[in-house]
Symmetry: C2
Subunit: 198 residues, 2 copies
DNA sequence: CACAACCGACTGACTCGTCGGTTTTGTAAG
DNA sequence: CTTACAAAACCGACGAGTCAGTCGGTTGTG
């Protein structure tokens, strides 16, 4: 096997291991030694692939954010009916979270308290999602689908509502199937902006 | 001055200092030595009043939770109109958060990622607030004010929506006055459960 | 042979909690 | 009033452990 491919494999094995350890211990309590042994490598190997601990964590966050964003965006583009774009985005998000529980845990729980350095990055990621929602809401407003409203607060609130439902699921396991929350959440959000449930 | 009163003062001065340091550094990065010097005490003094670092943090969380709960509950009891109970509770919460920014930061940001030991306690606190909301929603449903809905998901989503708006305010300072988010948030939440804005 | 990839002992910095000792306070007898 | 004494409150040096990151050396591949 060529070098590059092998290195690539190591790289993602490290990320897998980091995901496991971070989500088991939290950011601060996760030791590089543990990530090393979990990924069948050594401390030196880790530091060959990543400059420091923070970079590994950020890579994981970026990975999750990219996955969520791309899936949500393509799902929305594939749906021509503006009224339904929000629905498919929500359904897609829930499905993606449901399929990546440990990454979700990192993304929603560990990342916030991991230290001041991460808050900026996390706020950017949060903003980018709120932005996605805000653009959708603005489009719906200008399209005359819904009445004018404070889309800044609304997108933040929407994001928070979904966030909390997912966080509860991650931490307590309720609802057993995350997707079960979809109908109620959908109605709540749509009605909140004055879109009748159809 | 008698012993007990002085001890009481020390105790709360320690909590004040801890609040400052925890919110400046986060839980893990906050050193007991720093809390000691900030509270004009010594390490030994700290450990005379509290068994360990965790206990100090939990005491702060409990303090914030108790304040929020009692204010919200008494505000709701003072309001006879069921339709308006939610409004006054929301307004009270926002006002309380706005008046205690550093405690809010601890409560919503630092506490989540502070370690596995805190997640259980935090989930209990979250639940107790969701419960408060759920009871209100259930009362409104059985009173025929609103149509039947999944109050579990709804209360979680409400909590999350408020949570996120407050968190954004804590981390980014938007909106400048937290209370400015009240009208939009109020309409969003009430409309979401099918209560026309009055 | 050159260079990427990898190894793991080691260092330096840090911090929780402890403990022996000191000061302050309340109390009560002289 | 003051002396005596116990208990509460407080002090800070230190033990013991942790862990991110380094570095000199090794292995494998083109």
């Amino acid at each position: 096997m060529e070098k590059q491919a092998k290195s690539q494999i190591r790289n993602s094995r490290i990320l897998d291991a980091a995901q496991t350890v971070f989500s088991r211990k939290g950011y601060k309590d996760a030791a590089m030694d543990e990530i090393a042994s979990e990924s069948q490598t050594s401390k030196g190997g880790l530091y060959f692939h990543f400059p420091n601990k923070q970079a590994i964590f950020l890579a994981l966050l970026e990975q999750m954010a990219a996955m969520l964003r791309s899936r949500a965006e393509s799902a929305m583009q594939a749906e021509p009916d503006i009224r339904k774009k929000g629905d498919v985005a929500l359904a897609t998000m829930l499905r993606t979270f449901a399929g990546h529980r440990t990454l979700t845990r990192l993304f929603l729980v560990e990342a916030l308290g991991a230290g001041r350095e991460f808050n900026d990055r996390m706020m950017e990621i949060h903003s980018s999602f709120s932005r996605l929602i805000k653009d959708y809401l603005d489009e719906a407003v200008s399209g005359g689908i819904i009445a004018s409203l404070d889309t800044d607060v609304a997108s933040t609130a929407w994001f928070g509502a979904v966030n909390q439902v997912v966080t509860r699921w991650v931490l307590t396991g309720q609802p057993a199937q995350l997707e079960d929350a979809y109908p109620a959440l959908r109605q709540l959000l749509k009605q909140g902006i004055g879109l009748s449930d159809n």
